[in-house]
């Protein structure tokens, strides 16, 4: 980004502006563009989630506003903006009002390092992956603040659950990230992507068994950290009304949900970066603009596929209990990740340059599992079809 800023300062329309002011302008511009991009993503995700979820549960879902209901999220947003912003009389006013912004800040800051393409990244920090893990902590503090400031039992319980959950699952997620970092030797998002190739067998997901296990652990832990079903205990409707967000209304409530939907995309982007080869595309064109667009499309498609998987999981699995949540983390995921890390270290010492046969074997295994999965689904669909014939007259 600095190169872009420099070139704009020297030749573009920012010519003559003092260097620092120029940088500040470029940063502000990028922040503006990213914020709008995020709003768009979070909004569309909210609509898509409701549609996908409805499809899974044999309902229709929102399909009235626009074709197939694609601008339902705009209608919801306008509705929420126009609603009254209620602060409970007994609530802690300043903290109650500040909490959604804190959560929003922690989530928005992650987008600074997400690499949408070879040069399409706001800041390729040397500590990119660690940075994302660190700033998402602000979301927890925001939720805790909301829970406490609401002065409501359910909200407080939701906030505390959220804190316990996120702190616990940060450990397996962090160790899974370290497993990847072990093979790249860098924490920078772009370096991690460049260490992989465009072909699926060059992805870290299939590089060796340990990275494959790490990828699954990372996905589960990231879902738990993002408060997603089956780990959405902080806002469990059946137990806690709406958890930490019980007392919120209007725009502030919407902000929390924007964070949730947007976080889903961050999880997908992080997973794509670390295990699915990021923006890598086959070398088919030299044109920088087309290349950039293709890279962006690749990255977006991969990360959005993971968003879809998370929706799918949400529609399929029931919510876990608190004790099950903690058991899963501390008794299973943490020991498994540590053993996995040691295994990865041994693998790295044995084969510092990777093992081509293993890569292809893992890829073949992945393809086989996918084919088996879809064949099972087709089998069950075929078996279920005759029973669904409900018209007795014909």
């Amino acid at each position: 980004m600095q190169q872009l800023a420099d070139s704009l300062l020297q030749t573009g329309f920012l010519q003559g502006v003092p260097t620092e002011a120029g940088y500040a302008l470029v940063i502000a511009f990028f922040a503006f563009v990213l914020l709008n991009f995020i709003m768009l993503i979070a909004g569309v995700t909210s609509w898509l989630e409701r549609r996908v979820w409805a499809r899974i549960q044999s309902r229709v879902g929102p399909n009235r506003v626009g074709p197939q209901g694609v601008i339902q999220w705009l209608a919801d947003g306008i509705k929420n903006i126009m609603k009254e912003d209620i602060v409970p009389a007994e609530a802690d006013r300043p903290l109650f009002k500040a909490a959604p912004y804190l959560a929003m800040m922690g989530f928005f800051a992650t987008f600074a390092v997400i690499p949408f393409g070879d040069g399409l990244v706001v800041a390729d920090l040397n500590v990119g992956v660690l940075y994302i893990t660190a700033v998402t902590a602000l979301v927890v503090v925001g939720i805790l603040m909301a829970g406490w400031a609401s002065n409501n039992k359910w909200a407080l319980l939701g906030g505390i659950r959220s804190a316990a959950q996120i702190i616990s699952y940060e450990i397996p997620a962090g160790i899974a990230v370290i497993t990847v970092v072990l093979f790249t030797g860098s924490l920078s998002m772009q370096t991690i992507i460049r260490a992989q190739g465009w072909a699926p067998w060059d992805w870290f997901l299939f590089a060796n068994p340990f990275l494959c296990i790490a990828s699954f652990i990372f996905f589960v832990s990231a879902l738990a950290e993002g408060n997603r079903t089956p780990f959405d205990l902080p806002e469990a409707e059946s137990e806690l009304v709406a958890g930490a967000f019980t007392e919120y209304s209007g725009l502030r409530n919407l902000l929390f949900f924007l964070v949730e939907w947007g976080n889903l995309y961050v999880i997908g982007a992080l997973y794509t970066t670390m295990f699915l080869g990021g923006w890598q595309i086959p070398p088919i064109t030299e044109q920088p603009v087309i290349q950039g667009a293709l890279q962006f499309a690749t990255f977006f498609a991969k990360s959005y596929f993971l968003v879809f998987v998370a929706m799918w999981i949400r529609g399929t699995l029931p919510r876990v209990r608190v004790d099950q949540l903690m058991t899963l983390c501390w008794k299973y995921l943490v020991p498994i990740t540590f053993a996995n890390l040691i295994g990865a270290m041994i693998w790295f010492v044995l084969f510092p340059n990777g093992l081509a046969i293993m890569r292809f074997a893992m890829f073949a295994l992945g393809v086989a599992v996918t084919i088996y999965f879809f064949s099972r689904i087709l089998f069950h669909l075929r078996r279920a079809r005759p029973r669904l014939r409900l018209n007795p007259i014909s």
Binding site: Q2, P18, E20, A21, Y23, A24, D92, L95, L125, N126, V127, L130, Y131, T133, A134, V135, T136, A137, L138, V140, V141, L144, M145, G147, W148, L156, G159, I160, A163, A164, I166, I167, E170, S186, L187
Partner: protein
């Protein structure tokens, strides 16, 4: 100019939040001010081009320790109404302590030879830190881990009822 303004903004925020931690009557407010102070410190590390330390500061202190502190505060019954103040130390000893510490820190600030960090793209620091931890500073590093492990085991022993009885 903007760079300097940013620095003073972040430094001012850090000091303001630190004062908030010390002077706030409500312990929950203190905890949230502490977050501001820790974030400000991370920002200052960023100004020193210590990106790794800055990020670890947020990861460990805001993501771990602060959240645990909030957790403990919120689980304590009606902690917001508790009058938090230390009555065992009077005003005079406290004032003496403040003056002595203040003068000592002031002397340290004005006497220390300050280095100015070069501006521009920060060089990768993680590699050097890793080499230092596993090379010349291996023993202190491992000792720190042992201390932390001891503290962990101590906490478990103290909190488990069946072991205490």
């Amino acid at each position: 100019m903007i760079y300097a303004a940013l620095f003073y903004l972040i430094a001012g925020l850090t000091v303001f939040c630190a004062l908030g931690v010390a002077l706030s009557r409500n312990v929950v407010y203190s905890a949230f001010f502490l977050m501001g102070a820790l974030l400000g410190a991370a920002g200052l590390y960023g100004f020193l081009l210590a990106d790794f330390v800055a990020v670890v500061q947020i990861l460990v202190y805001v993501g771990g320790i602060l959240v645990l502190t909030l957790f403990a505060i919120m689980l304590t019954h009606q902690i917001a109404e508790v009058e938090v103040s230390n009555r065992s130390v009077g005003r005079l000893p406290a004032a003496i302590l403040v003056i002595v510490t203040g003068v000592g820190m002031g002397l340290a600030i004005f006497r220390a030879p300050w280095h100015t960090a070069p501006s521009g793209e920060p060089p990768p620091t993680t590699y050097g830190i890793g080499e230092a931890f596993l090379g010349p500073y291996l023993l202190p590093f491992e000792l720190a881990s042992v201390v932390l492990l001891t503290a962990l085991i101590g906490a478990i022993v103290l909190s488990r009822r069946e072991l205490r009885d």
